[in-house]
């Protein structure tokens, strides 16, 4: 490890900004050769540009999707979307992103709210609720000093990974135990970044980057104990999911392609022999989520993102999805988009849901809800199988909107 972190940052940011290629938009090359738009020609150019903006901002819908390959295999036969408002205070409702797992709603307390001073400290508390209405606040672990915590949802079970903020570089992984959380030992004290976790019945596979390279930790008892080993691949970017036969790992190799590895038990892995790489696009990062019956992969290379879907996590077909941010939930795809040319809040967010990646159903925005410019912070997530939750946070008051499909037709 090079100790000169600032020098690395300089070299790396120089490296990525070289891609920006400042010369391409120097004033001579980039700007239209017109006066500021007080002239007729300027107005014309501005008008033409505005038309282009409208076209660009128009939501791009899907095309060319194989209708016989649904992303997910079930959605209740319901069509009406309703919102339920839950009012509270900073003492009665959580402030952090809500997620679901293990049969309950959960939230990790987030005291560092948008636009607040940056010296607020991460919290070690978590909130739980059986229904999204009544919440209780409890410490993750009374022995912890100051952790930054991240939920990891494997579909079947939710885990929490954390970094200790005491300068030691140590880290921890927690698993749910009844109404609380238990810290587990995976045999390493440092994660290079947050681990990826896949679980199937009592087998849990944790893949992570350590100072000495990629590692695997496998548990055969539901995550109570782990044994670790070196991963058979050597790259930074990977993801792991469970499928009907065991586990599948996706690894971005040095050629920016995605290799596939499979394992029945999480211990022994072998690379899938293919005549072509599993995804045809160059990749910097791959993220796969889903459950047996339907998987979605997001392959990213710079600003280029492609979406893929599969029934078995091995054979993939490309889904022509564009526009906004796509999130795979248990019941389908959630698309969050906005008008890109609105500068000031509130932004005109648009939420759409699809069970097949083809037909998109608009979801009404909760009334009088001011959504900030970061939907990830506004916590749109799936919970309890069929409920989406958002948190609207203001000083002293908390409002939770839960939205769900109903039978109202």
């Amino acid at each position: 490890m090079r100790p000169d972190l600032e020098a690395q940052l300089r070299d790396y940011t120089d490296h990525i900004v070289e891609r920006v290629n400042l010369d391409t938009f120097s004033t001579a090359n980039h700007l239209p050769a017109v006066d500021p738009p007080s002239t007729a020609r300027g107005v014309l150019v501005a008008a033409i540009s505005a038309m282009a903006v409208i076209v660009l901002a128009t939501p791009l819908l899907l095309s060319g999707v194989d209708p016989d390959m649904p992303v997910v295999d079930s959605l209740p036969d319901v069509h009406t979307w309703e919102w339920i408002r839950v009012d509270g205070t900073i003492d009665t409702l959580p402030s952090g992103q809500i997620f679901a797992g293990d049969g309950r709603f959960m939230a990790l307390e987030e005291p560092c709210l948008p636009n607040e001073p940056s010296d607020c400290r991460p919290s070690q508390f978590w909130w739980s609720s059986p229904d999204g209405r009544a919440w209780t606040r409890e410490p993750i672990d009374s022995e912890l000093v100051d952790y930054e915590l991240h939920p990891i949802d494997t579909g079947a079970r939710t885990w929490i990974a954390g970094f200790r903020n005491d300068g030691s570089g140590s880290s921890a992984l927690f698993r749910p135990v009844q109404e609380g959380w238990s810290q587990v030992d995976i045999g390493h004290q440092r994660f290079g970044h947050l681990p990826v976790i896949a679980s199937k019945q009592d087998t849990v596979v944790v893949a992570f980057w350590s100072a000495s390279g990629p590692k695997l930790a496998v548990s055969d008892d539901g995550g109570a104990t782990f044994q670790s080993s070196r991963a058979p691949w050597f790259t930074t970017y990977f993801d792991v999911v469970a499928n009907v036969d065991g586990f599948v790992a996706y690894v971005v190799d040095g050629l920016r392609q995605v290799d596939t590895w499979t394992s029945e038990d999480g211990w022994a892995w072998e690379q899938v022999e293919t005549t072509a790489f599993v995804f045809s696009d160059p990749a910097h990062e791959v993220e796969v989520s889903g459950r047996p019956g339907g998987y979605m992969a997001v392959v990213s290379a710079g600003s280029e993102t492609s979406y893929w879907r599969s029934r078995d996590a091995l054979d993939w077909s490309r889904a022509d999805i564009s526009g906004g941010s796509i999130e795979l939930t248990e019941f389908g795809l959630l698309r969050v988009a906005t008008d890109p040319w609105t500068i000031r809040e509130p932004f005109p967010w648009r939420f759409e849901f699809s069970t097949d990646g083809e037909d998109w159903h608009p979801l009404a925005i909760p009334p009088n809800t001011a959504i900030t410019d970061d939907p990830a912070r506004d916590a749109w997530s799936h919970a309890d199988g069929r409920i989406f939750v958002t948190v609207d946070t203001w000083s002293g008051e908390r409002i939770i909107w839960t939205g769900r499909f109903t039978d109202g037709g």
Binding site: L9, I16, S49, R164, E287, A337, A376
Partner: protein, 156 residues
């Protein structure tokens, strides 16, 4: 005509000052490809609205917001910064791109501007639309996270 030439000169001088920090900020915030488009869009916007932008107290911060709005056209939930394979230039810790991309946006931009490129906290704060001390705090928190994730225990 004289006014137009003067406008061009003033705008060119303005771009010379703002282009690089704006590009670093938007590239680190949204990745190099989106950052490039967002920077170009912001500068184009400045040209079109030059009469308004030229008299602003903080045009850098305003254009950063314009760039952010533009970036939403290419919105992705996760920011992907390009990896550097072992043996390739520049020689950096392989986990650095991942760790940097996982920082909150404000921390990532502040870290890149202040610690990566040597801009002052005031200049970074102007771009981010926050105070000098807040920009510095964002940078400090981001650097602490990077050191923790990369296993660097002491100050660089």
């Amino acid at each position: 005509m004289v006014r137009v030439v003067g406008t061009h000169e003033a705008f060119t001088e303005f771009v010379g000052e703002i282009e690089r920090p704006l590009a670093y900020a938007l590239a680190s915030a949204y990745g190099p490809e989106v950052g490039r488009e967002a920077t170009a869009d912001a500068l184009l916007y400045a040209w079109r609205k030059w009469e308004k932008v030229s008299v602003m107290d903080n045009p850098a911060g305003y254009l950063f917001r314009v760039g952010q709005s533009s970036a939403r056209r290419y919105f992705h939930r996760r920011i992907v910064l390009p990896p550097v394979a072992p043996g390739e230039l520049p020689h950096v810790e392989p986990a650095l791109p991942v760790a940097l991309s996982k920082l909150p946006l404000m921390q990532r931009v502040a870290v890149v501007l202040i610690h990566g490129q040597g801009y002052g906290a005031q200049e970074a704060g102007d771009l981010l639309g926050v105070s000098r001390s807040t920009a510095r705090k964002h940078a400090e928190r981001g650097m602490a996270k990077l050191r923790r994730e990369l296993g660097v225990s002491n100050e660089a």
